[in-house]
């Protein structure tokens, strides 16, 4: 091969590399597969895992059906690139079309994109989208009900944030400033409480701003679709739809909006068309919005979607169907309320006793750190320390009555 190229040594191939690197990379010596995986196993043992988890706050310990792994590990899905050559990418393209369809159905909005990086990024992309659509500076009204991590990402992207009052577990949308581009409502909110999306929409539209609803997709099996109660954009974290916790990623963000707004939607969109023989097929469409065509004037620099994790969400939703999604929601609600009732019976108070929550709630404890230590000792990963003598507790369909009872007993014994 060197002869064909017309050089004598491999070094010659790098003759133009100035400044070249002469040293040897200071990396640990190469391992065989067996040795490397043994090390992975050893490191995994340094984590606490395999215990019931009561943490949520944006990532949920839900059941992941086995069929998902079987599909997403197929090499034809796993090892292909973005479907730029549609003739040999119909598998990816149709699965994206199905993902978009499921998200549209759940959110009650006409158009969904092929997914973005994660829930937080879906939120910030929506914030930027409201600015483009209203032709205002990016400025959004949010409350403490929005996951604080989402808010942090919004701020990183240099979007101005205005605070709305948050009392008794829900947001007061009555005083939205008239120069914002978007009003955000997360429901269920960070504290697990169902918010009034309709009120948020009205408040947004009163000042000619757009309403962005941030929704857990599982909750949309029981809650009214945001598109039906005035939301202009719906976004959220798709992790609960069949993605393992994986220490925070990869997950996928979803984004849906009204058809009129499609040209301001960032990211990939798969659309239906026909081939030369008139056969139905799918292709990436409205590409003029994207960075590789529009460069500096693109809606976003976003390049990839999260095709493989979006496929996981698609397979999950197909397996569950509308009834299964509802059952996941109802099991979680029943178990969460059982736990909350028992904790209240042990004289711990809910932070927001009057507000309707689904499967996540804030419970007041004298010392959250102490409670979590006691729980861990009993083989339970406790909830999130909110820092003000309250613990945010998430309960999924995975939790058993025994685990819930043990949680109550340990916490009650601790104080």
């Amino acid at each position: 091969m060197l002869d064909a190229i017309g050089v004598e040594t491999l070094d010659d191939l790098f003759a133009d590399v100035r400044p070249g690197y002469e040293g040897e990379l200071d990396l640990p010596p190469a391992l065989s597969e067996y040795e490397a995986l043994r090390e992975v196993d050893a490191l995994a043992k340094e984590n606490v895992w395999g215990l019931p988890i009561f943490l949520g706050a944006g990532a949920y310990d839900r059941i992941v059906p086995s069929a998902i792994g079987a599909i997403i590990s197929r090499g034809e899905f796993l090892t292909c690139y973005t479907p730029y050559q549609p003739e040999i990418s119909q598998g990816t393209l149709q699965s994206i079309f199905e993902f978009q369809s499921m998200i549209s159905e759940l959110t009650g909005l006409e158009i969904s994109n092929a997914s973005v990086y994660d829930g937080a990024n879906a939120v910030v992309e929506a914030a930027l989208m409201t600015a483009r659509l209203t032709k205002r500076d990016p400025k959004v009204a949010v409350s403490a009900g929005l996951n604080p991590r989402y808010r942090e990402v919004i701020e990183t992207y240099r979007v101005e944030v205005v605070d709305l009052p948050f009392e008794d577990g829900t947001t007061d949308f009555s005083g939205v400033p008239d120069d914002v581009s978007g009003v955000f409502v997360q429901s269920p909110n960070f504290f697990g409480i169902v918010e009034d999306v309709g009120a948020a929409s009205e408040a947004a539209h009163d000042v000619d701003a757009l309403c962005v609803a941030v929704c857990d997709p599982i909750s949309l099996s029981i809650l009214e679709a945001p598109g039906n109660i005035g939301a202009d954009v719906a976004v959220g974290e798709a992790q609960p739809l069949g993605m393992p916790l994986m220490f925070g990623g990869p997950y996928a963000g979803y984004m849906a909006t009204k058809e009129d707004f499609v040209r301001q939607l960032p990211g990939r969109i798969a659309g239906e068309t026909i081939d030369k023989d008139g056969k139905l097929a799918y292709v990436l469409t409205l590409r003029g919005r994207e960075q590789d065509i529009r460069r500096a004037r693109a809606n976003s620099n976003i390049c990839t979607n999260q095709a493989l994790t979006a496929l996981a969400a698609t397979v999950y939703t197909a397996l569950m169907g509308p009834e299964g999604l509802r059952e996941v929601a109802e099991l979680s609600i029943s178990k969460a309320h059982y736990l909350a009732d028992r904790l209240q019976a042990s004289s711990f108070g809910l932070r927001y006793p009057e507000a309707p929550f689904l499967w996540e709630f804030a419970i007041e404890l004298p010392d959250v750190a102490k409670a979590n230590e006691a729980l861990l000792e009993a083989g339970i990963v406790g909830g999130l320390d909110l820092g003000d003598s309250a613990m945010l507790v998430a309960v999924t369909e995975k939790r058993t009555k025994d685990e819930l009872d043990a949680f109550v007993e340990v916490v009650a014994d601790a104080f």
Binding site: L37, L43, Q85, I88, T92, E98, N121, L286, L308
Partner: protein, 471 residues
Amino acid sequence: MPFNLIRDKGREGRRGYTLPKPDVEAKEPESILPESALRREKPRLAEVDEPTVIRHYTNLSRENEGIDTTFYPLGSCTMKHNPRANEAAAVVPGFAGLHPLQPEAQAQGALRIMHELQGFLAEVSGLPYVSLQPLAGAQGELTSILMVKKFFDDAGDEGRTTVLVPSTAHGTNPATASMAGFESEEVGLDEHGCVDVDELRELVDESTAALMITNPNTCGVYERNIKEIAEVLHESGAFLYMDGANMNANMGRMRPAEADVDIMHYNLHKTFSTPHGGGGPGCGAIACSEDLAPFLPEPTVEKDGDAYRFVRPEKSIGRMAGFHGNFGQMLRAWNYIRMHGPELRDVTDMAVLNANYVRAQLRGTYRIPYDELCKHEVVVQPPQGKKALDIAKGLIDYGYHPPTIYFPLVVKEAMLVEPTETESRETLDDFIGTMLELAETGQEDLEEAPTHAPTRRLDETRAARQLKARW
């Protein structure tokens, strides 16, 4: 009927998954929520059983080509083999079942993976400060440019309004500059397809914040003046950012730090073999010099005695992701690097050897606009009168995934071929043979291609004009 949608394959009430039976008293949503909050109509989703789901998506997968099924020389995407050891690492329950908000003490194994990977990426680039958080290459770019922005904001330097981008750049570069609040301005090329240093000197002034350079560039040519370019920028107080999409050409042969690069991003899904997955998830880790380190996004991982912990850099731009980044991709990349060690240099050597071999063998039939040593990829042009699109579609009929076409934009009818190191000479020879044959194939036949793929050429205009993006 291969194009039936999953929803068309079901019957009302059919289910594909059985959940555990309730073990506490049922709490109906109707009992806790006002009626106005409840869903009135159930979503029109698929109602199918598991065999139907498996068969449907298995059949869909067969409409796809991937690295597992064919040679995939897609330029600038580094479609190397994805070792299954990485996948085995990523399903270990001690990692897959870890909640991102578990306290650091409960996640020491995961933090150690992150800390070691930070170190590996620092070593490969020579740039000592690393963040693994960006969720994709484009986000790595944005993170870097936001850090540059914050650096100047912090220094009270309000006049830095422009980011320079060579005309060969990936489209993400100018889009990133805009998103971070800069104007982007294009820099032209010299006769080698490299940044024109004289033109750069003219353009750089006190308003320049950074140059975004890709090295080797998107023509597959090494930017041999990179040190001088860095000097021009540094003299006026601007930064040199390197798009690391092409790091597969550099490992152990060139370190951005020695070329005076200030900040760069990696694509772990390119260089370090984490699967592309049909367009993500990826990981766009970044590495930078000491000047920019205080602005890194949070969190980064530090070792404190025997323990690992998350830290927020002093003047951090904030978070780019909901949690710590795509940990699953970090784990895969860590595993890949552990299985190569310092021999990552061999990866680069073979990638560059393969690309130059393709260049040498296509020369004469295909035009090579920059016919000199290339790095891990080579840009070629079809013979006079033939179109890159037609050759690409012709390749599909021979079972290949085509190269990247019409990119870089500066080369007419560009075909960007990146063979990667994981292909054998035999595979390359077969591909080269096919390319030469297609160069001789009549135009009418080429325009008909593909005829052996799951579909013929698609009506893309119709997709946009009669938008249908859901069932």
